[in-house]
């Protein structure tokens, strides 16, 4: 039997652990990963709607006769746990990957490229270029799309109407003015809410505001520009500082709110505006879960000048482990989940959109009548599509220090929101952070 990397790691682990006792221990090891011999696929993902995932996987097993051992992992610790598993040599065969983690996981030898495998080119031709780029690292393709989404301004038409506001804001200045109006009308003390408690997941709304005004934090060589050629970041920070501390329209409690309580507040009519993923609107407009059902709309991200528009997108993908022993079956699963079926339709992508409104990477779905009918229930299809077109992925995901930077960004933004840090100091400290990180990683 050929030794593959997983086995080598395993024996290396043993050698490191307890040289003397290793033969004994090897005998009592009941390592199940990939080695059960019946071709079943070990599949892991974060625990969003785990019951629906299982339901969909059961359907796959029924048609393909391939067994899938699915383990959902708490989303807050997903990345850490996967890293621990692969480090120990016991990773899954197929798994979800955040575009945020892709570069690191390729560098860490966890994943294998899909180039040349059946139907992959077809998939990449059928999806939006931004999503294709997000799943490509150093020229190789590593995934099939799970879902993608871009950020938008989400607002409560009812609250706006009560304050006599007819149109959502196009500029940040306008957003602040409208919020003040709502505040002064006594409708809400703090009309704007965004999730700003420290966490390990990215703060899409900060990136959305920066991209929304045509700015960026990095150039295409991943050199920091937030402190030099690009003034948008600083101006956005200045706006945040003012809106949080002078006009006090951003809720100060945001600093202790994660995404879930913000969603709940939107559903309870407690905020007039938030910035977040488009798919959240489906939930906000679902009468069984939300008191704001029917009142929530989406708009473009307000910008500094009200003319330029843009937003950020993210891509979540299905990827194949490098050391899988059931490559064929795992790839079949991948194709079922992220690829095209026998009729050249993206079966699971559509399933997720219809079930939960998760954004799709497939261009063809935009004109699918079933999709547009479902979309109309929670969003204006024109704005939805426009956001998808102008959205860009973060261009800094390919660097090994991205996670560290993102976490530092959160702390800096917290400083701005709580008036501890001036905008100019904030961008300077971000640039400084990048310098330090680059040195550390060289």
């Amino acid at each position: 039997m050929e030794l593959n990397r997983r086995q080598i790691l395993k024996y290396a682990g043993l050698g490191l652990a307890l040289p003397a006792a290793s033969p004994l221990l090897a005998a009592c090891s009941n390592d199940k990963s990939g080695g059960t011999g019946d071709g079943s696929v070990k599949f892991e993902g974060w625990d969003y709607e785990a019951a629906l995932v299982q339901q969909n996987l059961d359907n796959f097993t029924k048609t393909s006769n391939i067994k899938v051992n699915y383990t959902p992992i708490t989303s807050a610790q997903y990345v850490q746990k996967i890293v621990a598993e692969f480090t120990g040599g016991g990773g899954p065969d197929a798994l979800y990957v955040y575009d945020d983690s892709l570069a690191a996981w390729v560098e860490g030898d966890y994943l294998q490229p899909l180039d040349g495998m059946a139907g992959v080119d077809e998939v990449y031709d059928a999806i939006y270029p931004g999503n294709a780029a997000a799943m490509t690292y150093q020229g190789k393709r590593y995934g099939l799309p799970y879902y993608t989404d871009s950020n938008c301004l989400t607002y409560n038409t009812d609250i706006l109407a009560k304050a006599g506001i007819k149109k959502p804001p196009a500029s940040l200045e306008e957003l602040e003015a409208q919020a003040i109006k709502i505040k002064n009308a006594g409708l809400l003390q703090y009309p704007i809410g965004v999730p700003a408690q420290l966490s390990d997941t990215w703060w899409s709304w900060v990136w959305a505001l920066v991209f929304g005004s045509g700015g960026n934090m990095f150039d295409d060589q991943q050199a920091p520009i937030m402190n030099t050629t690009d003034t948008v970041v600083k101006d956005v920070f200045a706006w945040l500082q003012q809106a949080a501390n002078k006009s006090k329209v951003i809720d100060p409690a945001c600093l202790q709110l994660l995404a879930v309580p913000i969603d709940n507040a939107m559903k309870a009519n407690r905020y007039a505006y938030t910035i977040g993923a488009r798919y959240a609107s489906r939930d906000y407009n679902d009468a069984t879960k939300s008191k704001a059902a029917g009142k929530i709309r989406m708009a473009l991200i307000p910008s500094l000048d009200g003319q330029v528009h843009g937003t950020v997108s993210n891509t979540r993908l299905y990827a194949l482990a490098k050391d899988t022993e059931v490559k064929d079956n795992a790839f079949k699963l991948l194709t079922y989940l992220g690829g095209l079926d026998a009729d050249k339709k993206p079966y699971t992508a559509k399933f997720w959109f219809l079930q939960r409104g998760l954004g799709f990477a497939y261009k063809s779905m935009a004109t699918d009548p079933e999709v547009t009918a479902s979309l109309k229930k929670f969003a204006d299809p024109a704005i939805y599509a426009h956001l998808g077109e102008i959205a860009k992925p973060r261009n800094v995901l390919g660097v090994p220090w991205y996670t560290e930077f993102e976490i530092e960004l959160h702390k800096v933004v917290q400083g701005v929101l709580s008036n501890q840090t001036q905008p100019s100091a904030a961008v300077a400290s971000l640039a400084q952070t990048v310098d330090t990180l680059k040195k550390k990683y060289n």
Binding site: W105, L255, Q256, P400, K411, Q420, T421
Partner: protein, 301 residues
């Protein structure tokens, strides 16, 4: 075990090591290797997402700490956190233990209540206090508003100082019981003749406390100090759930930073170096406590 039959001193030695063998084996098998391994890793550049860059670098990780802003700031936060939590815990636990050492109606109930926080896992403790401190619907806001002490709901955890203090309070609530039990246990063994003698001497309550109670409590206090210092230095669950370390760096303790460095940034080398610094500090402090009591001539391990 042949030693057992021989002369006493030798027999004691062999017997003692035999008795310790099971515990030592378990610890050696399960912890000694990870501990040694983590020290070895702390001498490496070892980021799990860059396996090819792995390299032995001697004490470079430790040297880098001196100019590591995140580390220095976390160390400061931790020192303050330990000070506040330890101070509050010891004072509150001591008073509560003194109260419980008296006879009064409802003593049994109070003792039961004193055990309650012990039964609460740190994560649940964090969740509980989060609902209490909540800016929109929290019980603390509700209570203070109804009592007329504040005129509107506050977001307690959004200022650095606020977050720090409230996190420390949540931590103290959770760690109080263990100290109370140990101190109460110590108090319960003070012979009542000592107090009788002091009463005859007409010593005041304070004097009696200083002259009789405190010296008698030195040993339990030592245990409380060592264990609570260790706990406060490594406090993680409650802070993680309550603030995630924010706002900014206000509640990013060294333990939190360490977990983040190892698990989120996957920098196993640097994270291990952090951990060994924490170990060294706790060890030094513990030795300090022991030395302090040694000088008082009142201590035997």
């Amino acid at each position: 075990m042949a030693g057992l039959a021989e002369r006493r001193p030798l027999g004691d030695n062999a017997k003692a090591w035999a008795l310790n063998a099971p515990a030592m084996t378990v610890i050696a098998l399960l912890v000694a290797y990870p501990i040694a391994y983590s020290f070895w890793v702390s001498l490496q550049r070892n980021n799990l997402k860059r396996p090819r860059a792995k390299q032995f670098i001697g004490f470079d990780n430790y040297q880098a700490l001196l100019s590591d802003q995140a580390f220095l700031s976390a160390l400061k936060v931790s020192a303050l956190f330990v000070l506040v939590v330890l101070g509050l815990t010891v004072v509150l636990a001591l008073i509560l233990a003194l109260v419980l050492n008296e006879r009064f109606r409802g003593r049994g109930l109070l003792l039961s209540l004193a055990l309650l926080p012990w039964a609460m896992p740190g994560v649940v403790n964090g969740l509980m206090w989060r609902t209490i401190f909540d800016a929109k619907t929290g019980a603390l806001n509700g209570l203070l508003t109804q009592l007329g002490l504040i005129d509107g709901y506050h977001a307690w955890l959004t200022s650095g100082t606020g977050a720090f203090l409230f996190t420390a309070l949540a931590q103290v609530w959770n760690t109080l019981p263990f100290s109370v039990i140990i101190l109460l246990a110590g108090l319960s063994t003070i012979p009542s003749e000592l107090y009788d003698a002091a009463t005859v001497d007409r010593a005041g309550a304070v004097q009696r406390f200083v002259q009789v109670t405190l010296p008698w409590l030195l040993h339990p206090l030592l245990i409380v100090l060592i264990l609570e210092t260790m706990n406060a230095f490594r406090a993680f669950d409650t802070i993680y759930v309550l603030t995630g370390g924010g706002p900014g760096d206000a509640t990013t303790t060294i333990a939190l930073l360490d977990v983040q460095t190892v698990l989120t940034f996957t920098d196993f080398g640097l994270g291990s170096a952090y951990a060994w610094v924490i170990t060294a500090i706790t060890l030094l402090i513990s030795v300090g406590y022991i030395g302090l009591l040694y000088r008082k001539g009142n201590f035997e391990v």
